[in-house]
Amino acid sequence: MATQNVLMPQMGESIQEGTLTRWHKKLGDKVQREEILFEISTDKVDTEIPSPVSGVLVQIFAKEGETVSVNTVVAVIDDAAAPGSVAQAPAEKPAAPAPASVSAEVASASSSSDSSSRVLASPLARKMAEEHSVDLSKVQGSGEGNKIVKNDVLAALETGKSVSPLVASAAAAVVSPAAKSSSEHMKATGGGAEGIVDGVRVSRVPMTGMRKKIADHMVMSKRTSPHVTSVIEIDLQKIVDVRAKFKDKFEAVHGFKLTFMPFFLHAVIEAIKAVPVVNASIDGDAILYKKDINLGCAVALDWGLIVPVIKNSSERSFVGLGRELNNLAEKARNKKLAPEDVRGGTFSISNYGGFGTVIGQPIINQPQVAIFGIGAMQKKPVVINDAIAIRTMCYCVLSFDHRVIDGSDSGKFLSTVKSVLENWNVPVV
């Protein structure tokens, strides 16, 4: 028999773990190489993972909803087994019945919401549960003697199942005395998702894994870097004209639409070359200047936000940049991004202007040190040579980590972007 372990893939360098959201195959099922085996969700990406080999799925170590660290074995595929055969796995995750004494304890604990302290759990698991209002009595322990350990709480947080609304509002009561009665009220109204908090009718929906991870990542970034945002106003009329002139020809020749993004990508690359410190990260007391420019472009999705990365951006032509961005956005929307596609970003771009926002203050995507933001394009009367003209204008910003980047750097960066766009001279077709 030849078996192959299936691992939780690394989806982006800062990612330590992922949540297995759905198995597409059952134990004993036959699976073809490249056939979708399971889906995962991490703080950067939701994606489908294809099977590394053909064979029979003989062991499954990670349940749906379980969060496991990168490179953990989540399943085993046997390329020689007959369908339906399943390996005996003596050490499969203990879904086994708990010893009587422990299960009795858990059972009695689950009858009241404040009895988490009587459940067998590690101090770390307890602390995490407290911070996230997880009801430990509803969590299945996988540690020695069925003790609830860190990974169990993480798994519970992922599925959101054990986050008890009662416990959550009880925690809030510590902050606001008035909330106590509202949590009583919530109990009275059934304690479900609908309730009243601080006299306001609410419905409580647990965050999805992706949303929670975005939240953590954003808070972490704000804590890590002192952010400063500078704004510049750019005249895009020339770009608008160039695009209008070439867009039909471009689509006919290259097979995809000419958007404004490649213009911005090109300008940003030029600006990074002029101010390399924006394409860096901090390593202890040193600055790591990145020799590759890998641009991450935030793509909004119905279910969240993903930042695919255009590798070696500075080595690509104008058309190449556009094509790669188009490919990645397409893949993101179809949940087909591969781990490689979201890894290795060195600088990010956020395009909130598409929704009409004029100025934004994007948060840095750690461990990067700067992020470029693009506001909405607007026609405006502007003064040119003491005459009033109608031009297409746009505010662009740079949020930067003031530990390593100064105002002068950011000024130089933004003025380079502006100058490249206002004096556009790169062929587009």
Partner: protein, 467 residues
């Protein structure tokens, strides 16, 4: 003769003999096969135990030199000297007592000892060759615990006299005037620290950019400083080109240097190779990993062949006695049908018994940096601890690395003569998933050296008390 056993263990090192005892205690009929005349494996015969005995003699010599400063006068003790034959005698006695102890434990626990070279000849079948005679034994399960041996290098000929590994060095009957230690890993540094203090002029030659390459860079730097005070020259990022015995001397040529350096003796200490040859692995098709270690499933310690397990130095986990014996007890539990929570190797402590000692657990700072993890670190020096000054062991520090989010302890690195004892507190704590607050809020006795643990915990939380 063929007796049917529940379990046959091959190798009587700490992994093998502890596994055998435990299996017997769980009611299995167990045989333990050993090819060497004494039980106990590398650890008891040529490893941990004799090495620690040799280091203790060096420590006593250091202490003796300081008696006057403690206010203790012993007639004629102004100039204490090393009695090397006695160092060896004491060491041999300890080894003998301990290996006899293992034989006694085998009897007490009704483990059958079979002398000879064991090799797997089929599923549930082991051949034992002794004095040219072969006997076949059958069993339900096999536990391979054949351990490891000193690694040799193709271009260096170990002659067992002037060029030795940690296996032949025990036969030295005098302290050499000069010696080179090729390889600044754990074992090399321990010998360097002992022989340096015995009076040898030692040169450590290490290829990596720090000695003890798997340890935190700050502890390695601290050890380097200490070794320099113990007659040791420490060369890092240096490769050895050739080693040639010439008469009573050994010539060592280093890369980038043309003229050889001359030493009386050379210790080759470049890691340990797993004993996987001629033990029948290929007969049953047991898979090795790309580094030549037996591949096992770390949730069972079973090889790719059902019923055949492997633990200790033959598998690609840390090559430490306590790691091997923990794995053996684990595998025996699995064989007995018990459920076990997988061993978390981040709770596996490591210790180096140089002066001062180094002990560590979990990640090093550079590993965390490389993984891009968010961490907080603090270092607390022993100079601030009264008892460390009283005991005259105020060298070194405790460094704690935590994940600031929940206060999970990610790594601990201790440099101090008591480091190996103190790391056990972290092994327990990490195994129970303590948080840094648990550590800071644990009452430690005063005055003790281990108080530093509480102090370091407060320091990493941002409020060191006694500093």
């Amino acid at each position: 003769m063929s007796t049917n056993f529940d379990l046959i263990v091959i190798g009587s090192g700490p992994a093998g003999y502890e596994g055998a005892i435990y299996a017997s205690q769980l009611g299995m009929k167990v045989a333990l096969i050993e090819k060497d005349p004494t039980l106990g494996g590398t650890c008891l015969n040529v490893g941990c135990i004799p090495a620690k005995s040799m280091l203790q003699s060096a420590l006593m010599l250091d202490k003796a030199k300081k008696f006057a400063s403690y206010g203790v006068k012993i007639a004629g003790s102004d100039n204490p000297e090393l009695d090397f034959p006695q160092v060896n005698k004491r060491r041999d006695e300890i080894v003998k007592t301990m290996t006899n102890g293992v034989s006694f434990l085998m009897k007490k626990n009704k483990v059958e000892i079979i002398r000879g070279f064991g090799s797997i000849s089929g599923k549930g079948q082991v051949d034992v060759t002794s004095d040219g005679k072969k006997t076949t034994y059958t069993c339900k399960n096999i536990l391979v615990a054949t351990g490891s041996r000193a690694r040799h290098l193709p271009h260096i000929k170990v002659d067992g006299k002037s060029i030795v590994t940690s296996e032949e060095i025990w036969a030295w009957d005098k302290v050499p005037e000069t010696m080179a230690v090729l390889g600044g890993g754990v074992i090399g540094c321990e010998f360097a620290s002992a022989y340096g203090r015995y009076g040898s002029k030692v040169t450590i030659i290490e290829m990596a950019d720090q000695i003890c390459p798997t340890e935190d860079h700050e502890t390695a730097a601290e050890l380097t400083k200490a070794l320099k005070k113990q007659n040791c020259e420490v060369l890092t990022s240096v490769k050895t080109k050739s080693v040639t015995a010439k008469g009573n001397k050994v010539e060592v040529v280093l890369e980038g240097e043309n003229s050889p350096r001359v030493f009386e003796k050379v210790l080759l200490s470049v890691g340990r190779a797993p004993n996987v040859e001629n033990i029948g692995l290929e007969k049953v098709g047991i898979k090795l990993n790309d580094r030549g270690f037996i591949d096992v499933d770390l949730k069972t310690y079973q090889t790719n062949i059902p019923g055949i397990y492997a633990v200790g130095d033959v598998i690609p986990t840390p090559q430490l006695a306590h790691t091997g014996s923990s794995e053996a007890l684990y595998a025996v539990d699995i064989i007995a049908g018990k459920k076990r929570h997988p061993i978390n190797y981040l709770t596996n402590p490591a210790a180096i018994y140089t002066y001062p000692e180094i002990a560590s657990i979990g990640y090093t700072e550079n590993q965390l940096k490389k993984a891009g993890r968010n961490y907080k670190s603090a270092k607390f020096p022993f100079t601030a601890i009264a008892k460390a000054r009283i005991d005259d062991i105020a060298d070194g520090f405790v460094k704690i690395l935590i994940d600031p989010k929940y206060g999970e302890v990610l790594g601990v690195h201790i440099v101090n003569t008591k480091a190996s004892e103190m790391i056990a507190e972290f092994a327990l704590g990490n195994n129970l998933e303590m948080t840094i607050e648990d550590l800071a809020h644990t009452i430690h006795p005063h005055p003790t050296v281990s108080e530093i643990i509480k102090e370091a915990a407060h320091a990493v939380m941002g409020h060191p008390i006694n500093m």
